[in-house]
């Protein structure tokens, strides 16, 4: 039983308790199922906060290790190995927070097969927690692949009209990248006689020419997930078709698995390849920032607009990671959280109005701020957070990333950051365009067809935690940076 009481094990697998309970519930008692799912994820969030209290911020190393020998075949040693450090603690907390929020958002939005929906959602949380906590490459791979399945069904069963296409595409894109990663993992396991990440990093000494191949193999999986330009083609489909809660988790957590992968594996495992690749990744990130922002501006569907904005935002994260200095990397980690908060909030809010109008065409909206003042104000704050207004969270991340990238030795030129800073202007262009078309101007067609109601208390409660964090991180990010900084400094020792 000692195994189960490990904080991280408990945190990762606790949602299974909810799954077990729900499995034996009558599928007609929808509210009861919702409450079970909600309580389970709230307790999971509580567990993640408990982990935070056990976590020592000043310690740069992996902590709260749960480590067991698991499979030993043919000289391989596969471990069950969970641990957390400054690189992952915030993402664990983000996952813990966004899951109950997403479930709360489905309260009236999901009426079909609530039971199955909640089971998938809870399984998804297990996968996500596992991805951020696994320190054994093989175990990581299992969790990584495992997240695909529930997400596939969430899109495929509860999605929009083209959900099958979107779900299959999402699945196959990620699979394609993952296969290369699997090959690299197997190679590493053979080479180091272990799949333990800390051990492999400590061994080091992978020949430079092989490093590059391994780097590319890992990068293939992660870059698709991020998604980096030009591998983003699955993202708009998945986002547009996914149900609101799916989009929130997809943008809020699943995309971060890609950037986190670079941070956790590529940078420490393949230092020489990382340095070589940095300018190229910075180039792709810069293109992604500008391209995503420009394409976002031309969208007629508001959900697609936000989806493409993710391409731009995640470009900032990649730029920061490969700046390979303290500001860039710490900013990138914080920006992963920021993007989860602001884009998560935007998807939630769009979902709330969609529930009433069943359309996301920008041109039928207009003047909503007059009819729905609370909704408009909350949307405005989320939009401003997304476009990086100082005083809110997005700015702290973007500023530190750009500052880091501007003087980065690894990237080697201030031009990437300079051009990327143009993305700050373009973000204002597309975000304000969206806000104007929906909330300002004369009342749109949709207001004549529907009696639109302002947000109710449940809906306000759903986004409230995100809003509080937007202000908190924007005004006083010190507690967050304190969690990140020691691990980042340790990571960058070799660079």
């Amino acid at each position: 039983m000692e195994f189960l009481l490990q904080p991280l094990t408990l945190l990762t697998f606790f949602p299974l308790v909810g799954v077990l309970v729900i499995l034996f519930m009558n599928s007609e008692s929808k509210n009861a199922i919702r409450w079970v799912a909600m309580s389970t994820t709230l307790i999971t969030f509580g567990l993640s906060l408990w982990v935070l209290t056990l976590f020592t911020a000043s310690n740069p190393d992996l902590q709260l290790e749960a480590k067991y020998s698991w499979i030993q075949v043919a000289g391989w040693d596969i471990q069950y190995y969970l641990a957390v450090d400054g690189l992952s603690i915030l993402l664990v907390l983000l996952t813990g927070l966004l899951t109950p929020i997403s479930i709360l958002s489905t309260w009236t939005a999901i009426e079909d097969r609530v039971k199955d929906f909640m089971i998938f959602f809870l399984l998804l949380e297990v996968g996500m927690m596992g991805v951020f906590l696994a320190q054994d490459l093989f175990l990581f791979y299992i969790f990584w692949e495992f997240t695909l399945v529930p997400m596939y069904f969430l899109i495929g069963l509860w999605g929009g009209p083209r959900r099958i296409y979107a779900a299959v595409k999402f699945f196959l894109y990620t699979m394609a990248g993952s296969i290369l990663m699997l090959l690299a993992i197997i190679w590493l396991g053979n080479y180091g006689k272990t799949f333990s990440l800390p051990e492999l990093i400590a061994q080091g000494g992978i020949p430079a020419n092989i490093q590059m191949w391994l780097f590319i193999a890992f990068a293939a999986a992660f870059a698709i997930k991020v998604p980096m330009f030009p591998l983003h083609s699955w993202l708009p489909d998945a986002h547009v078709e996914a149900p609101t809660a799916g989009s929130v988790i997809l943008a809020g957590v699943l995309l971060k698995m890609g950037t986190y992968g670079f941070l956790r594996f590529n940078i420490p495992l393949f230092p020489e390849a990382t340095v070589q690749a940095a300018p190229w990744i910075a180039l792709l990130a810069t293109i992604g920032i500008i391209y995503g922002a420009a394409v976002s501006y031309a969208q007629a569907d508001v959900k697609k607009l936000v989806a493409y904005s993710s391409v731009s935002h995640l470009g900032f994260v990649m730029l920061g990671l490969f700046a390979l200095n303290a500001q860039g990397v710490a900013g990138a980690i914080l920006q992963m959280v920021n993007h989860g908060l602001s884009t998560g909030a935007l998807f939630l809010l769009i979902g709330m109005v969609y529930e009433q109008t069943h359309t996301r065409e920008l041109k039928v909206y207009g003047g909503l701020w007059k009819i729905m003042p609370v909704f408009g104000s909350i949307m405005l704050i989320s939009a401003l957070s997304s476009m990086g207004l100082p005083g809110l969270n997005g700015f702290v991340g973007e500023f530190t990333i750009l500052l880091g990238a501007f003087g980065s030795k690894a990237i080697g030129s201030p031009w990437y950051a300079g051009v990327s800073a143009l993305g700050v202007i373009m973000a204002a262009v597309y975000i304000l365009y969206m806000f104007q078309k929906m909330f300002l101007g004369p009342a749109g067609e949709i207001t004549k067809e529907h009696e639109l109601k302002d947000l109710n208390w449940r809906e306000i409660l759903t986004v409230a935690p995100l809003l509080i964090l937007m202000f908190w991180i924007g005004l006083y990010p010190a507690p967050f940076f304190n969690l990140i900084a020691p691990a980042v400094e340790k990571l960058l020792i070799g660079y």
Partner: protein, 713 residues
Amino acid sequence: MHLSETIISLAPWLVFAPLTGLLINLIFGRRLSEKAVGTVASLASGAAFVVSVLLAYAVSINHGEVMRWRLAEWIHIGTLNLDWTFRIDSLSTTMMLVVSGVGTLIHIYAIGYMHEDVRFKHDEGRYTRFFIFLNLFIAAMMILVSGDSYMMLFVGWEGVGLSSFLLIGFWFEMDTLGRPSWANSDAAKKAFIANRIGDFGFLIAAFLMFWGFGSLQFDQVFAGASSLSAINSPLTVAITLFLLLGVAGKSAQIPLYVWLPDAMAGPTPVSALIHAATMVTAGVYLVARSAPIYATAPAAQYLVAMTGAITALFAATIAVGQYDIKKVLAYSTVSQLGFMVAAVGMGAYTAGMFHLITHAFFKALLFLSAGSVILGLERGHHHAPSSPTLPPKGEGSHRPLSPRERARVREHHEIFDPGDMRNMGGLRKTMPVTFWLYIVGTLALTGIFPFAGFWSKDEILLDASLHFTGIYWLLTIAAFFTAFYMGRQIWMVFFGESRSEAAAHAEESPKVMTLPLVVLAILSAVGGGLNLPFEGFHNLGHWLSYTLGEVESLPLDLTVAGVSTLLALTAIFVSWLLYGRTPLQAGQIDPLKRLGLVFTGMENKWFVDEGYFAVIINPFKKISQFLADVIDWRFWHDFVHDTLIVGTYNWLSTIALDHYADQKGIDAFANWLGTATQWISENVRKIQNGFVRSYALAVMLGVVLILGYLIFK
């Protein structure tokens, strides 16, 4: 020292006071009366003023020594250390006093103005929102002027941009005439984006500072800049020029000034507070604050001064051709900001700050009086038996009305532009208080002795005449135009006969509006006393020298003062010849039309907006459309993915693999996933024990097995 320590600890209340007002109105606003809402907001702003006075006092008893108050840490990562630290010195307290002082007067005025405005616009519920935004603005502006680092300044810098966006778009569902339209929200968006372009420059400058000097805190940056031995080193030139872009955005200089005239879509107190007296002067403050960097880059200084001077003249010519009372003042503001930017560019910081202060007084006075005029006409319009409607044909500075709108106007007599000077005339009789206030503001702006503008403008001209002849002439000609367009405005608005029923029935504004104006009028009249060009009276210069170092205090130069006064009087005389001697009649075209193309250019703002649309905005829209439709969707999405990848895959699986292998291959798996899902989603209601549940059970089973193995092995 003890006393000043205590006072300094109040510094955060510069921001907290207006935020408190904001929160009270946000939470309880619905339950409070209009008067209570306005009073709370005014008190909040007034409290910030009291704190500013105390802080200024603390600076003076400390003989100008810089004081700091660290509230909290902000961003600390690697070598980057940013704090929420308030910087109290003579420059920052000067700005605080102007912002909160003028700001409070405008809050009080707005109690009366918005009371009527929300009724004319039929949305009384929006009253509270206005004061919430106004308090937000004061808070942001206080952060801007009191920050001790470039980044804290930047927080305020973008914060005021946001407030400006919210207030320009306050009536977001209409245009300035109250018709359903995107116009006001377009103006708001334009202001935000133009400012963001400037902010891009600011950010790049900040990056250069950080990597060049290792800090973003003012003193450390200045120390780094002055330690560079080279004059005009590429680093400082680059920093100052990128900062200039920021200045051009915020302080509405060429090439980014275009947002400011459109910003007049906001209610008039907003135009007075944000778009005349305070926010737009932030760029001037930024240059003055960065004086030690600019000092090491004379080349950049000259460019700043030239930008200001050209803007001053360019905007003044446009002001001549405007018909909207607020548009004239808006271009006048751009022009006067040009004077200030030119001054600080030349290194004449005292002159620039002096003009900033006096301009805050008289331009706030003018805008608020214009607001009084506009409301006076609205009142007249609502009382008049029938309302005159259209501006005279063929010379609209506004977008010409479409035939349908014209028809509606004729039928319903609804649309009336109370801001169009062609609808005014003869208001000195119906609105005498406003008239005299306007006269004081005009005399101050045109620089007639002994009003405030005379002293401050003259100091700028004098400095220019000694060091930069070209700039001197640009500014002097701009001053001539200034006097002319203000003369034109006075004659058109207040003299002659009323050219509309509304003007004939116009009513004077209530005391809550006129009293703050009287205070501003007194300040506009005697504000010059802050810094008289006589030995021992350089009060402001002495005060600012604590922060900016000794600056030369010039004595009065009778030639410069004489030339500018003479030119101003000539310009007023010419305007009388054209507009005063024979007043405009209703429907009569502007006498300046005789100038032909030149006037057409002025009327249409030299077609700069159209140029930006043609060169930047439309191409950007087209490019992003092209990227989205052709590149991203048709090429990447449809062709590369759907055709190339899927096609190749299908081809491989049917040709290269035999049928049997295909069945068991990945394709089969994908197909299976696809059809399975499709089948389930279509038939789910018929299935009791569906696939989904079996799948979930299978997963569960696997997990349980693994866990069981681990636990019990």
